[in-house]
Assembly symmetry: D2
Homo-oligomer: 358 residues x 4
């Protein structure tokens, strides 16, 4: 299904090869000031960075077709539309016979049969994340008005990992360098890691970490619509994601309760925990500490190196070389997508819980 959310609800439409992609965003309260430029700025962060990204030129101009009049939300459903420019799809046809390793081609062909629209990856294309970013820009504005700030960055790219903790201002700096690193030193190493893969016609993965500050205590719904569950469902819609963890995550599995439990303490008039192994979530609910999640992205499936595949018609093995320019690393572009996805889920859960007034 192409919809997600309960009170703040997103529906995607379009595909990478049709005239454009877009989204309907239901449930945003009226009267929120937001400019089309600020939405466009978010989309610009999703564009490939010069040098390290693909050279395909998608301009990605967003149009807000409804729900925003004179820079203010109307309370009705919002609609975003982003026209497709680069639509040469002839090169995709051979993948109907010889599916690309690591792509959805093979299961989609089996699922949809003869009619499957493989061009540009169709509805499986990473391009579907563009309208998520546009809708996420609105969700972020709604959250910010309610004191909630979201920031993501590239925690690791390939073998380069940033082990440091960063305060919010440093996190926001990540928007300014091409790899979305929260540290300028790491940024240089990450860029080199990407360029090295690129030179070898290969690709590299990485981890995006996203933090959300000052969530209301209690956001999230038991038993199934937990903060982690709702976020995970949304995050796994982003192409290339293979794992997600909250707080200490997989390393919690190796630890003791006495180490991993976060002790409570009073800080001014707030109840906080002195550590944040929980990543801001207890029992599926926000505990008021920073929400802290990490998302693992696999290396881009499209690489220049020749690969082993099969000829589905001849039923025999076939070698495949994917032409064209592809992102050697999707992680820097994914940072703003993760932020948007997180913002949309948090806006929904905050509205559902009555933490944000309608």
């Amino acid at each position: 299904m192409n919809s997600i959310g309960v009170v703040v609800r997103l529906t995607l439409f379009g595909s990478s090869h049709g005239p454009g992609v877009g989204a309907v965003l239901d449930g945003i309260p009226g009267g929120i000031k937001i400019s089309e430029e600020s939405i466009q700025q978010e989309l610009d962060l999703r564009r490939p960075s010069p040098g390290i990204g693909t050279e395909r030129a998608e301009e990605d101009r967003v149009q807000v077709l409804a729900g925003l009049v004179n820079g203010m939300t109307t309370g009705g459903p919002m609609q975003f539309y982003i026209a497709n420019k680069d639509r040469d799809s002839s090169k995709y046809l051979k993948f109907k016979t010889t599916p690309r390793p690591g792509h959805a081609d093979y299961p989609a062909l089996v699922k949809y049969g003869e009619g499957h629209d493989i061009r540009g990856g169709g509805q499986f294309s990473g391009r579907m994340t563009a309208p998520i970013v546009a809708a996420g820009a609105v969700a972020k504005t709604l959250l910010r008005r309610n004191g909630i700030e979201i920031a993501a960055y590239s925690k690791s790219i390939g073998r380069v990992e940033d082990e440091a903790e960063h305060p919010l201002p440093e996190l926001l700096e990540a928007r300014k360098n091409p790899v979305r690193s929260a540290s300028s030193e790491t940024a240089a190493l990450m860029e080199r890691e990407i360029l090295e893969a690129k030179e070898q016609q290969d690709s590299v993965g990485g981890v995006v970490r996203c933090l959300a500050f000052d969530l209301p205590v209690g956001a999230g719904e038991p038993f199934f619509d937990t903060l982690e569950g709702e976020l995970s469902k949304m995050i796994f819609a982003i192409p290339g994601v293979k794992g997600i963890e909250f707080g200490s995550g997989f390393s919690a599995a190796r630890s003791r309760g006495s180490q991993n439990n976060d002790p409570f303490e009073i800080q001014g008039d707030r109840v906080v925990t002195s550590t944040n192994h929980a990543g801001g979530v207890l029992g599926g609910l926000s505990n008021g500490m920073p929400l802290d999640l990490k998302v693992a992205f696999k290396p881009t499936a499209s690489i220049g190196l020749e690969q082993e595949s099969v000829d589905l018609e001849a039923r025999r093995s076939a070698r495949l070389k994917i032409e064209g320019r592809h992102d050697p690393c999707i992680v820097p572009r994914a940072v703003v997508v993760v932020e948007a996805a997180v913002a949309l889920v948090l806006a929904d859960l905050c509205m559902r819980g009555g933490y944000i007034a309608r």
Copy 2:
């Protein structure tokens, strides 16, 4: 919300302290043979193992109140009910003033206020997983009739990790040892790891790995109801889960595309991949290879050691000692819960996709 699923839909009811817990399971086709005993056997796997588990004696007898007549499903909604026996709740009242670290007490108190029913953890209790196991037994039977087999085991407990790959018969052996290990050698080490934590009044976490064999190619729905997204949402409803990954997961983030892409090959009349870094999922759809997911559980939050907390009324720090017997490691009991959760999601996606006839 207490419901999950679209065509096969589960709703939980009850709480750890009320008269019982149960579930409604909609969407199971009529005419499937299943005995109450086989459902009970699954529930028995969720009971604490002697020696390494809590000594609280919950008998957990399941009653099937509807949807099963003369050992055959009726096609109507099924209902499961498990009476609560051990209901001494007086000991929970102090947690309303002094919340337990690592538990939902604090955010639930803020969310629900004065009226919050904290006894036994209420709706946040691990006891809510008992009806999931009962419903999961039906989902497993439905899947097995369609050639799909699910098996989970303890991949790691604390510092002890099982690095081996196991064929299905070995995986099924895991049901026979108390720690649910797929290898008898590792089983002994894991048991020691748990007992050591227990002796120190501490607890330990671990990783459950679950595999599903012979899924139809194409199961899962783009864009949001992906195989990974739907599974994750369900899995994060299990108390104590902090992370999930598919296939190579977080280690994919450190690899190159040329390593991580699984080459296709023809094997007999099937298209397979020679490796399974994808964990059986491409573009949110099953690719026919074994579904392979790992779930990180944190160490049990309830430990015997004294912990730092706060007195919410006096607004000052307070030390807390949790009385009673608790599981030093939840992982062995969680293995059958993960299997059930996975079975319910796969049954729903297979029914939605028309891979299983109604």
Copy 3:
């Protein structure tokens, strides 16, 4: 599916022949005072009235299994359970061969096949409305706290129709006479109409009218989750309903716009309409005037007279005589069910729209 609602969400479980029927009610805010006795009083209104109703003795004692502690809602899911007493189901078995006219027997047998649990009507039984009434009692209390009052009555029974408009106090009087009439004169005529049908071993239908006062302007959601659409979906779940109309309803279809449009006027500090042909709804949203809906109930399908049916095995016509005592008119008992159904939908839409604080 056995669930309805988005923020205030109801799930039914049980069936007329199993051990009991019940409901889970998610989304009710914590801290609302409500006694089990007041819930029971609503259920008592659903019991057959002496003389005009069936003589089967269902006591219908409601238990609140969760979500209510010390007379106050906890904020967690509420659960209601009503044990079944009268469970002689042997008489239902013949309907598997010879379906009852006007009942769900035939399509349910085709849909569910061999396994269909026909006893007592199973999940199609009017008995499933008992937990709706219990949950509705909570929804009514929630609405009343927010100034919204709901009242229904028997507008017509068979050929006897009450054409008058009644103020709220008269409507509440309807609870005191056995036919739930808002006028004592009509009450006598309606009772006679029912008794006449009963003597002839026949049954009679009728119309329930329900009004809701002082709804917030704007409740309801375009485009699909309109006030009328959400109410209708819920109302058609009540067995025996064949039609619903709002305001002037079907008679609006025969009128002119100049007659049917309700002129606006200022009354004190409120904007009202001088007529209420709209029944309180414009564009799917509450306009602040009384919500006014009418529900058509068919005559009870179970009658004592012999009827034409078929023998599904022998594939030939067969005459059928239904034994036992049945309600000659379901309408009086349905009045409180309609109120409950309306209350649940309004509570959901008011919570979704932020008109009632969480």
Copy 4:
């Protein structure tokens, strides 16, 4: 919310004043042959008929942006887009101060506040039914491939009522006359009724009856997702609807069980009923007889006569004259909308029940 349906799921986007309106239709199986021309033909039936309809010239050219390649469905989500041509919205601004009687202006202004986009009725506009018709054309094709045929007609317009029963060929003739009457005699009377109202600058309502033939026995889901409940929810999304009834509907309320119960009989190899008071539905499930529903439309709210309203700013009464050309009767245009709405719900319930293969 702008979405409806479970397996076949429709999401609307756009508004009457933006660049266009459209819909996303999820869940349609791949491999169905359908031409854009056949979708366009359905939309053409929604256009105003010369003489009796509005003279505003909306061309309503549908574009299928995704999900249809070379005249065959792909199995992915389908997308329809209809550009808006006639967008002079200046005349709507005064309704923000002086709401039109019978329109959503007043509650929408209260609900959405300052930001409400009133132009052209915004998301409350009848124009939103255009994409429903486009999506409905696909649903009809899917149903027809499975032997199910849908046909609606104007049963009454104002005081003119067509009391006859019509076989399918006559029903299909309704598409050929401007008032969508199934009888040429009634057609003339209906046209006169509309023209008379038009001359008087007034409007008139009517009833659309819709039949669906050869539905599989068992379609529909208890307890809440009944055939009647799901249809009603969809139908009430059509602007102007005030009532719905199935089979004998409101007249059943005045009848006896012995008259209203439909006796079963064997006809060839089928089980049928000799009458169809049930309108093809028993217990919320299709019984295989023709589905028979009637929908009451109020007279068009926009009339040329001066009306009483209020000045919301000055808080005093104000007279209002609505300029421009409006449909004096919406019923003829609504016939194809009702067909589409019914087709979409039936397609969803047939897919959900497994009556139509994926």
